[in-house]
């Protein structure tokens, strides 16, 4: 499972703090977080609800600005791009892939069009063919199916293929198995790990599902906005 990682991290968070809300309702979903993910590395993030896992993804994905600290994605300091939403969106489009809960596919688009849309948004070639990517996730035979005609696992596979359209350097995966049974969960995360390693993409997967973290190169745990423990996937799996 382990792959050779380049020395420069794909993602680097240094002393990152995020505060949300005002007054008494103020919360700190990320509290002085230091975190690095190497290229080609598949990292799992576990932790209880409200621990700050989604905020970690949001900050890493240029969806949420850190109140303090430094965030670098593929060597680019995000504070130097923002706060222009347009420029941040462009950066995300070219460098960051997202896999959401339940795939979060667009209901009006069939599997192939899900990928074509991202290709269009990113200004990709008009000759773009989505079939090889769909084939890589075992979904080429359902290229013309709408999301409503796919199972949860199939939707997630299409979502994974969609995330790779722009060949991102960083892949952020949000609870990919939340709507899947155990067997399908294993398949999906195995597929994610395989694709991430094959493509040399740094991947961060937020999950509640401890059964799937055996596929990760490394697992970190978040509690109260802090990355409290660093353990290997083997060690976590042994718990």
């Amino acid at each position: 499972m382990a792959t050779e990682h380049s020395t420069e991290p794909a993602l680097s968070l240094r002393s990152v703090t995020v505060e949300l809300g005002d007054g008494d309702s103020k919360v700190r979903p990320l509290d002085d977080v230091n975190f690095e993910v190497a290229r080609g590395e598949f990292v799992g993030v576990v932790g209880p609800s409200g621990a700050g896992k989604s905020s970690l993804l949001a900050v890493a994905g240029a969806l949420l600005q850190a109140d303090s600290g430094n965030v670098e994605v593929l060597g680019q300091d995000l504070s130097k791009i923002g706060p222009s939403q347009g420029r941040l969106a462009k950066f995300r489009l070219r460098n960051i892939g997202f896999v959401f809960q339940s795939g979060n596919l667009i209901p009006a688009l069939n599997s192939a069009d899900q990928l074509r849309l991202v290709n269009k948004l990113s200004g990709g070639p008009a000759s773009f063919d989505p079939l090889p990517l769909l084939d890589a996730v075992g979904m080429a035979h359902k290229a013309k199916n709408l999301p409503g005609q796919l199972s949860g696992g199939e939707r997630q596979r299409v979502g994974i293929a969609r995330a790779f359209v722009t060949s991102p350097g960083l892949l952020l995966v949000d609870e990919p198995t939340s709507a899947l049974d155990r067997a399908r969960s294993q398949q999906i995360v195995a597929l994610l790990a395989e694709q991430s390693h094959e493509r040399g993409v740094a991947t961060i997967m937020v999950t509640h599902d401890h059964d799937v973290i055996g596929h990760c190169d490394r697992v970190v745990e978040m509690v109260d906005g802090r990355l409290s423990a660093y353990e290997t996937s083997e060690a976590m799996g042994a718990h």
Binding site: R92, L93, F100, I106, A108, L109, L121
Partner: protein
């Protein structure tokens, strides 16, 4: 367009319902437009067809019913004739009358007394031009009352007899009444009350000391403009251009204002309905849009996409509605003042589409406020 077209196909039920509403609005708009044009034609088609630049009324004449209220004399006509830029200045006598045809049918006529062979002589579709004292050229639409060439019309109370010698080309009505062009001398006999029973004669005309008329019809020289202020000062008149003179037709202003107000409401309703639909549509898609924004779609792309949807919806269903409206309009009964004219239908269609787009634009602006962060599960 990529996403817009696919979403239109995917949500065809919802868009179809909305489109049906837009089509119904377009049908109503065509009907109102047709009714409006029909009423305008019924009210002032006789004036519209005149080769007149402006009408000069006696100074201070009240606008409403000004044609029958105004009285001008020969000096005022002469004063206008000598104005620079005026090609023609002719007196016109106007007034309504009741009459009976030789088969006993009671009719109303709007009498327009003009000088035969003047620039005001109407083009005829049937019969001959105005000549003599008893001849009248009547609106073509009067045929529906049974009028034919040679029909003798007897004016009520005076028992003066006039003969139909021609029909105008197309409709020529004033104040919703068919127009009858007649010799100005005959009009003067009738207006003065000096007309005798039977056919008007030259002897009666010669004996009449009544050289007034209702208004001065003015025609500008080619490429020239009439200096109305200077002319009014010289002639003691109040001059309005042809279009403005329509307001002097009985009931014209009240009718057009009423219909215009209904049309304005219709435009407002269209903008609100389309805006409400796209508000709900945008709210329904909020999570999808957040996902797209998270992936990297710009707010501008999503706005353009939603507006394209609105434009396709409005264009296609307005066109359908207009076609249905035109079909319905052409089946309107003859007695109904209804006229399908390209320009007002086109204008109101464009206004409907533009205001619908404005409504949609206001609604979909919320796209720019969608936080891409909400695409992540924990932030929902």
């Amino acid at each position: 367009m990529f996403l817009a077209i696919r979403e239109l196909k995917f949500a065809r039920g919802r868009f179809g319902l909305m489109g049906a509403v837009v089509s119904l609005i377009a049908i109503l708009m065509v009907m109102l437009s047709g009714l409006s044009s029909g009423l305008v034609n019924d009210g002032v088609s006789g004036l519209k067809s005149l080769p007149v630049t402006a009408f000069a009324f006696d100074e201070g004449t009240k606008t409403d019913n000004a044609f029958s209220r105004s009285v001008i004399d020969a000096e005022q006509v002469d004063a206008w004739k000598s104005q620079p830029g005026v090609n023609h200045a002719e007196p016109v006598g106007a007034g309504m009358t009741n009459a009976t045809t030789d088969d006993g049918t009671q009719i109303d006529l709007s009498l327009f007394g003009i000088t035969p062979d003047s620039f005001l002589t109407p083009a005829v579709s049937e019969g001959e031009q105005l000549s003599g004292l008893a001849g009248i050229v009547v609106s073509e639409t009067a045929k529906s009352d049974g009028l034919e060439l040679g029909t003798i019309i007897t004016l009520d109370r005076l028992d003066t007899e006039l003969k139909v010698v021609g029909f105008t080309e197309g409709q020529a009505t004033f104040g919703h009444v068919d127009m009858a062009y007649l010799n100005l001398d005959t009009w003067r006999l009738i207006a003065s009350g000096a007309a005798q029973p039977g056919t008007p004669t030259q002897t009666q005309v010669d004996a009449l000391d009544f050289d007034v008329a209702s208004v001065v019809a003015l025609q500008a020289e080619d490429g020239e403009e009439i200096d109305m202020l200077a002319g009014d000062l010289a002639a003691g008149t109040t001059t309005v251009d042809l279009k403005e003179s329509f307001n002097s037709s009985p009931g014209y202003e009240a009718e057009t204002l009423t219909l215009s107000m209904i049309q304005m409401f219709l435009y407002g309703i269209c903008a609100l309905v389309v805006g409400a639909f796209f508000t709900v549509w945008t709210i329904q898609r909020q999570h999808e849009l957040a996902v797209l924004r998270a992936v990297g779609a710009s707010g501008r792309y999503l706005l353009r996409d939603s507006l394209t949807q609105a434009a396709i919806l409005l264009f296609s269903f307005t066109a359908l509605g207009v076609m249905a409206g035109v079909g319905l309009g052409s089946a309107m009964p003859d007695g109904m003042p209804f006229a399908l004219e390209l320009e007002p239908i086109l204008t109101s269609s464009i206004i409907t589409i533009v205001l619908g787009l404005v409504g949609a634009a206001v609604a979909v602006l919320r796209i720019t406020r969608i936080d891409p962060n909400t695409a992540l599960g924990g932030q929902r």
